[in-house]
């Protein structure tokens, strides 16, 4: 047994633990199935091995061995493709689809989590080899925390104020507050919608948020999460009963019209608030130099 075996085993173990920690099945219900989990745990294990083995390679002056990390990068890009394909295939059969932006966000995070695992394993092994196992444990815990911090993004409640507004009809037009949602012709449908529907208005807290919540993918993500958590009063062949989000062009507020099966206002507000802000929807106009340039 050579001097590197223990550090490598340690690194691989810590890396795999990191992957397990980052693999949560929550209300988003993904990955739901055992096989999906197995795939990700195995890939996590491989990632951890790559990270851990890289350190002894460097120590032994085998610098070319590090090029194997590029193979790893290609490998994990495939993970992203795999996730994207699976979710896109399945999305067509959802009553309220996730939408492409949400799927892309999920796929990206699956890829990046593998890199976090490589980093964790690399760091833990490195510290083990340079100092000893006690420092390595501290380093491992530290990188687990860093990983946790890096994988958590902001949520909708950080960027908007959410208010409940009852739905109302003006003629055939359905409104949430003053935001027009759609035209519903049949009186019975209108009654159904008033009975089962709920309306919320999301007011952006600053100018960056206006374009973020205007993003169609972000809006679809909100609808999907609400429908997953509270159920949806809809079926195939009833397009009139489709949850929708429309925008107030004047001030960038958005009106959310949903048809949940559990109609509890506070719960719904919490669930809308917990929707992740999709990375692909984030815009930062306030960082633009042209905006901030003082005018003389």
């Amino acid at each position: 047994m050579n001097e590197y075996i223990l550090p490598i085993v340690f690194g691989v173990t810590i890396g795999t633990i990191a992957r397990i920690m980052m693999l949560r099945t929550d209300y988003r219900q993904y990955p739901t199935y055992l096989h999906g989990k197995t795939i990700h745990l195995c890939l996590g294990f491989i990632a951890a091995s790559l990270g851990a083995v890289a350190v002894p390679a460097i120590m032994e002056m085998e610098f070319t061995a590090v090029t194997i990390l590029t193979v790893a990068a290609t490998q994990f890009r495939d993970v992203r493709n795999m996730e994207r394909n699976t979710l896109t295939e399945v999305d067509g059969f959802e009553l309220v689809p996730r939408g492409k932006t949400y799927i892309e966000g999920i796929a990206i995070s699956f890829e990046s989590r593998n890199y976090l695992v490589i980093f964790t394993a690399f760091f833990a092994t490195l510290v083990f080899i340079i100092w000893n196992i006690y420092y390595a444990i501290i380093a491992a815990v530290l990188s687990l925390f860093i990983g946790r911090f890096l994988m958590s993004g902001s949520t909708i409640k950080d960027i908007v104020d959410i208010e409940h507004h009852p739905l109302h009809f003006d003629g055939a037009g359905l409104y949430v507050d003053n935001i027009y949602i759609m035209n519903i012709g049949l009186p019975e449908r209108q009654e159904e919608i008033l009975k089962y529907g709920m309306g919320f208005v999301l007011t952006p807290k600053n100018m960056n948020v206006v374009s973020t919540i205007a993003n169609l993918g972000q809006r679809q993500a909100i609808l999907h999460d609400v429908s997953v958590s509270l159920g949806v009063f809809s079926d195939s062949g009833t397009p009139a009963l489709t949850p929708l989000i429309k925008r107030d062009l004047d001030d960038g507020r958005i009106g959310v019209f949903v048809l949940p099966q559990v109609r509890e206002v506070n719960k719904a507000i919490k669930i809308i608030g917990a929707v992740p802000v999709l990375e692909n929807a984030i815009r930062m106009p306030s960082k633009s130099k042209k905006h901030n340039k003082e005018e003389f």
Binding site: N183, I184, G185, R189
Partner: protein
């Protein structure tokens, strides 16, 4: 070009106001109008939109 929305049917009480391409259903009273619209909505998987009291269209989204 892919057409994403299309008017599948027009249902009306007022014959004088309509003509043209989509299938047209002329009804005698408001009740019939609504029941025809509801049926067509269910059959075509479209949405019944009201353009006025006497004029409904079924639109596929």
């Amino acid at each position: 070009m892919k057409i994403e929305k299309a008017i599948l049917a027009v249902i009306t009480l007022n014959e004088s106001k309509i003509s043209g391409g989509a299938p047209i259903f002329i009804c005698d009273d408001q009740k019939e109008l609504e029941s025809v619209a509801a049926n067509l909505e269910a059959i075509t998987d479209g949405i019944a939109h009201a353009l006025g009291e006497e004029l409904f269209i079924i639109v596929k989204h």
